[in-house]
Amino acid sequence: MSGPRGAGGDLPLGAEMPEGVRFVGPVPGLVSGWKGRDFPADEDLNMCVACGLCLPHCPTYRLTGEEPASPRGRIAAMRLVGEGRAGVDETFAHFMDLCLTCRACEDVCPSHVPYGRMMERARVQTEPLHSRRTRLLLWLGLDVALPRKELLWLAAAFQPLATPFLPRRVRALVPERGELLARLPGTTEPQGEARGTVAVLSGCVQDRWYRSANRATIRVLARNGWRVVVPPKQACCGALAAHYGRLDTAREQAEQTIRAFQGHDRIVVNGAGCGAHMKEYGDLLGTDEARAFSAKVRDLMEFLHEEGVDPPSGGLGSDFTTTRVAYHDACHALRAQGIREQPRAILRWIPGLELVDIPNGDRCCGAAGLYNVLQPEMSGELMRQKAEAIASTGATIVASANPGCTMQISAGLRAIGKDVEVLHPVEILDRAYRAEARP
Amino acid sequence: MDLIHPHGKADVVEALVEATELRRRVLVVGGRRHMDKGNPCEVDAELWTTMLDGLVYYEPAEMVAVVEAGMRVSDLQRMLAEGGQEWPVDAPDDATVGGVIAAATSSPRRLSVGAVRDTVLELEFVTGDGRFLRSGARTVKNVSGYNMHRLLTGSLGTLGVIVQVAMKLRPLPAARRTVWFAGGLDRARALLDAVPTPAAVLAGPDVVELRLEGWPEQVETEARRAAEVADPVDVSEDAPFPSQLPWEDHPVVAEVAVPPSKLPDVLAVAGDAWGALAGVGLAWVGLDSPDGPLDVLRARARAAGGIAPVVKGPGGLGADAPPAREIHRRLKAIFDPAGVLAPGRSWGGI
């Protein structure tokens, strides 16, 4: 801009800037750097005014202090690509990869920027940039294995053999063994009159490696008068595929899940990551059917709180001493679903249970899907911080309603040598119910 | 000694243009109440500001007053009192507004009213070579450009002649009370812990004066809390504050400024005519001469990370060079190129 300035002149006072400075906004004549049909939408990107209120809530920004590791910076990077001023290159991919998608930023954003959705789309764009090896492993894991229960069974079966060959950091994470035999019962009748029928997601990783949580889920629901159905044709809900840029796979899995749960009006999910994703099927598929499905999905603790539970008369130990339980909020429960009070309210009904919060409890544990495998340094630091925060509460049990978090927290506590039991909150309730039966 | 007695701002400008041309060294004089603060310096003329005493603007609803720098503090405070307000500097009645700012001495109520510099919003001043400048703004919040008015405040008349001031005011307290206690600095600190926001806690070697100001209910509550710490020796609603200034009886008075926790250290060598503000770190110390005990006092203050300039009598500011000495020299050079404004009076002999 140049020319005479000031009131009455051609340019307003304040319009002229030194060379190399411009007012923010798109540069005319440039073409967007996105490819394909899945990319962060312009309308979404333009909701961010770069106020920076998200920064202190972002775990990666807190750890690094660097703008590219913050939501504001990542959105700015996406906007630059969208405006054609930058390309989807390795630097861009690196910035996107470092994000946990914990969505703490969404919570505090005064403008309601839909960061989670934008990151999913950005990951579609960066997927081709990963190393061939990474892409192969992700393809095997997310596109091939997770959607197929038989392959997961095989993975669990060969785990003892494969374990010594796994990289140390992966070995540190994975629980000792998975369950191979037996299945969850297809239908479980409640005690007494049935209030209704609920269909539960058995999950992919959870069912294989943390099936105790699933069994406790069925027992607790039955104990509270629900007929519990585990639809046989379900596989993986597709959350991880969506989070890692494989929206086509995710869409397939979403459709499969919807079909598997056809005819059910109450769909209950005991994994926070899964439940959050299933509630967003409407966004993902864009169909009325998907939206209707998503409206029927409830997180397990949310459901139990809404419908009411029988307060247990049993405590956690046979001698009714107070057990301190720390509650860990999974990011996908706290943020994406707004679930905070419900599980706490339920646990407080258990006699002899002292419920405590974890310092900095709303900061991500670093599991974040495959983050713990793909970004070991950042994840390891967050894992350590979370484990130490849990240990500082003096709790003997930590409640975690998401298999990814459970895996991470268990590994973290092992790493710092602290003996704290990691249980799904429904398992804790289940214990209390089972304690009632004892004389 | 020549006398320059300007009637208005234009006269001041003319006088300084001339002073620079003639290399005539000038000392700015207001009410002659702060002359002793500063290193000794030789001058050829005095410039009296007392005729620049007009009111420019006062609107109680704004809590800002704009006056010419030669106005006497008493005249100002009387006018402000009609609006229910004060300029919280507690300076002598016949001191001038400009003098108070150029000397930047501290109010005994420093704990609650803050420093003089925090009340100065805008200054008009004339540089050593007769440039008429303005810095700051007449609003209580302002970040527009460089705060030259901060430099001028406390500069002892070595950077420019202050001719007009916009100052931030505060409401006069609805209630006041002084409570006396026996004891020294320890007692003072105990009182400060019990009453966290008094107007002042002034300790002497064996008496503490607690000054409370504010809403009547507040003063009442605070007095009660203080009485829980120790038994009051006396109470008054109309005593001036401070009521006794034992240090003023001495020919030399130094104003010690150290972090508050270091006061005991410094006061240990201060003799027995002193008053110290607990929670602030200021102390006025009365001495009999500018050597010996003053040097010891200054050494202690320096060791505590502070200073001890003399504010009454001989003794100067002390040998401490200011930080960024080169910057100080250059600032002096740009505001007073010919070095005619009280050369040598300020810190480091600048």
Binding site: V21, M47 | R138, T139, T153
Partner: protein, 487 residues
Amino acid sequence: MADVEAARRALEEALGPAEVLSEPLALLLYARDSSMVEGGCALVAFPRKVEDIVACVRIAAEHGLSVVPRGSGTGLAGAATPVGEALVVVTTKMNRILEIRPEDRLAWVEPGVLNLDLADALTPHGFTYAPDPSSQATCSIGGNVTTNAGGPHCLAYGVTSNHVLAVDVVLPDGTVERLGAEGPEAAGYDLRGLMVGSEGTLGIVAAVCVRLTPLPQAVRTMLLDFETAEDCAATVSAIIASGVVPAAVEMMDQGIVIAAENFAHAGYPTDAAAILIVEVDGNNATVQAQAAVVEASARANRVRSVRVAADEAERALLWKGRKSAFGAVAQIAPHYHLHDCTVPRTKLAEVLSGIYAIAKRHDLTVTNVFHAGDGNLHPLLSFDRRAPGTLERVLKASEEIVRLCVDAGGALSGEHGIGLEKRAFMSLVYSEEDLAAQACVRAVFDPAGLLNPHKVLPEDARCAELAMLQGMDAAKAAADMPEGSWI
């Protein structure tokens, strides 16, 4: 012509390769702060200690780069927008609270400590750090110092300058000095007072000694709503005129209330023309008395309802809405231009209606959120940058708003600073001679123009003594021994 490559190598060696960014995309992310103007930089460096800052300054000078200091990058005037071949020195990794000394009512912090983190760390000691900008969750103390930041509670407690006892700064020549003192007075001219608010042009803050403010015994926060902005502004004047100085008096107009409520769900009345958030503090008795005066003033000016926060949670919610206003306004349109003029309190209503008229004339949406207690307005012009011709209208309206405020006796900026965006307006409030003197002050510190060029002063403000100062600088450099350097 700067030798960026050589500078990069030197920086990586001095600070460590992990502390230097040079990839083009990373550099683009440091091209702006939260203002409307973006520039570009050549390198970004993250010092972790004072010596690193000194190295950055030295290396930049050696290789022809200018230096742009940056904290959290939440500035609203473009002071942290790099221009030309610049090294952005980011202090976010210097984020330690070095010591808290309640007995001296002070604390030493590194410049990258976040404002709210500091206040939270002080709470267990019974203290707080009073200046609380809306961005306090994110902004850094170093940034606060360089902009003389304000915030709602500055009405009663004073701005940042009142709460900074001393700063350790790295000067443009690489020396380190402590300006101010831990005690109440320091030797020399008030260089500390000059540094606070100098927007990163006189030195880089390496450590800050802040004043601790005792936590008040009691706090009462009230929400008052009005049918007209005039009644609201009149209430503010009435409160002040009655001798009460609340801890905070904040005003929000309907547009911004709606946006803020949408995010914070604080129960703001979205049909009010304007609302006031008034907070009084002190001991229990004082709070009662002051609150009564506030309510009486409001009722005398046709307040519709008075809501008092019942507990800390409700108080936090009322403030959440206010403090998120800048971000929430994005719900109205993707871009906004924000002003920061301060006007005399008694002129508030008149200036406010003038601002609405200006916005209407230029067919723009304006919302207002501001520190009514000290007349510090924040008109927000919302717009979509992509629509052609919009930016020009915004800038025209901006000029009119600034002129309106200056004519009413106001200042250009109450707390955000001049930065890049407001330089052109400096000549509306200062004479040529004033600006030349300011340029000289700047040249005293930085004769070579290394630090944050193109900021604060208009391009044509020149120091007549520049040659002399540059000569003094060269002579000193030739004398070799840098005074006051730490290592």
